[in-house]
């Protein structure tokens, strides 16, 4: 008995052979796509195939309370309001509890896009302090477990952006859907708070979600939150 390798295929078969394999790939991808469509169809909450952006304009990096007021920041700026700018602003960021039913109050200023409700503007440091002192809003920390354990705002609910749907009960069991929610993460280029707020609005019906864009970076750097910082996990 001898072991031999199969004879090499001649060059004449290379062209059709490659096409044959490409055809197999195409069929496999088509079948996989069909399986994806079927799985989504039978899902309890099917995803739409085309995603529509439901993020309020003022919480996008291109437009915040500060940049829209100044009208000077570039389109991709993530600069946010400072305490001084919040004081100069004539418009409250979060409406008081006895706010009129019409959400379009005060008149659209440079701080908000026309027709946008006041509560859809990004939260400022004053809003967060007010929430901590008076309980005017629920705070949600969108950072990862180890970051939350290293330090977080007192009373903040932990909803990491990497596991929103696994941990949503931490928020849904405590926060009514009509309550005011302030979401924060690390600040700077951190997208975690955007993801969490998007999920809260889009999938769980929370109507009054704003983002504290400067996040933990400002919490630590401002020195105004010393009494409100806790350490440890859930």
């Amino acid at each position: 008995m001898y072991s031999i390798m199969p004879p090499r295929q001649g060059g004449k078969r290379d062209g059709p052979f490659v096409l044959h394999e490409i055809g197999k790939c195409t069929v496999i991808l088509i079948l996989a796509t069909a399986a994806a469509a079927a799985a989504n169809h039978f899902r309890a909450k099917p995803l739409t195939w085309i995603r529509r952006d439901v993020t309020p304009s003022a919480t996008k990096p291109s437009m915040t309370l500060e940049t829209s007021a100044r009208q000077s920041a570039p389109a991709e700026s993530v600069e946010t309001a400072t305490a001084e700018d919040a004081e100069r602003s004539a418009q409250p960021v979060l409406p008081p509890d006895d706010a009129p039913a019409d959400p379009a109050q005060p008149a659209a200023t440079e701080s908000t896009a026309p027709g946008m409700a006041a509560e859809e503007v990004a939260a400022t440091i004053e809003d967060v302090l007010d929430a901590l002192q008076t309980g005017s809003a629920f705070l949600v920390d969108a950072r990862e477990d180890h970051e939350f354990a290293d330090g977080h705002l007192r009373g903040a609910l932990h909803l990491p952006s990497s596991a929103i749907y696994k941990n949503i009960e931490r928020v849904s069991s405590v926060v009514p859907v009509d309550a005011k929610v302030i979401v924060y993460c690390g600040g700077g280029q951190c997208e975690a708070s955007h993801n969490v707020s998007d999920a809260l609005r889009r999938d769980f019906g929370y109507a009054h979600v704003v983002i504290y864009l400067k996040g933990w970076e400002e919490v630590v750097g401002s020195g105004r939150f010393e009494a409100f910082i806790e350490r440890g996990g859930e």
Binding site: I28, L47, T48, W49, R51, I164, Y165, D203
Partner: protein, 149 residues
């Protein structure tokens, strides 16, 4: 003895590599299939895909991973499966290189859903290792044939 060991490795190696690569891909896909909404955010973090296409990618990509894994295990479709898997791994390497290395985003790779490592050099190294394993899986097994009467 050495030649016997080598023969054993050459006969066991390719199917073992196919099994490992297929297992990794199926494991990676299962959490994304179960909860695609979370995977949408993992893809979004890379900031490479238009907002409108995020759902499309989150719904289809995990099933393509499963299909490539299954195809790799079936001899008749092994080459096609390997091509799909290597293509997807190359795409992942480009995405991680762009987002984590070039742009410097501090993001989870999203490879395995919750608990995925931070996107970076280690992710790229893992993907390169999987490409090598996939290529090994394509090595034909040596066959013994009776010659003569």
């Amino acid at each position: 003895m050495n030649s016997v060991a080598i023969q054993m490795i050459r006969s066991v190696g390719p199917p073992l590599c196919a099994l490992i690569v297929a297992g990794v891909f199926v494991y990676a896909a299962q959490s994304k299939i179960i909860e695609p909404r979370q995977f949408v955010f993992d893809i979004k973090n890379y900031r490479m895909i238009p907002e409108e296409l995020l759902h499309l990618m989150a719904l289809i990509l995990p099933w393509w991973e499963v299909a490539g894994a299954v195809a790799l295990l079936i001899p008749a479709t092994r080459k096609a499966g390997a091509a799909l898997i290597i293509g997807m791994l190359c795409m992942f390497i480009v995405a991680v290189s762009y987002a984590a290395l070039y742009k410097g985003y501090n993001i989870s790779c999203g490879c395995f859903g919750k608990g995925s490592a931070q996107a970076g050099i280690k992710t790229i190294a893992l993907d390169v290792g999987l490409i090598i394993a996939t290529l090994i899986a394509l090595v034909p097994r040596r066959r013994t044939v009776k010659v003569g009467g």
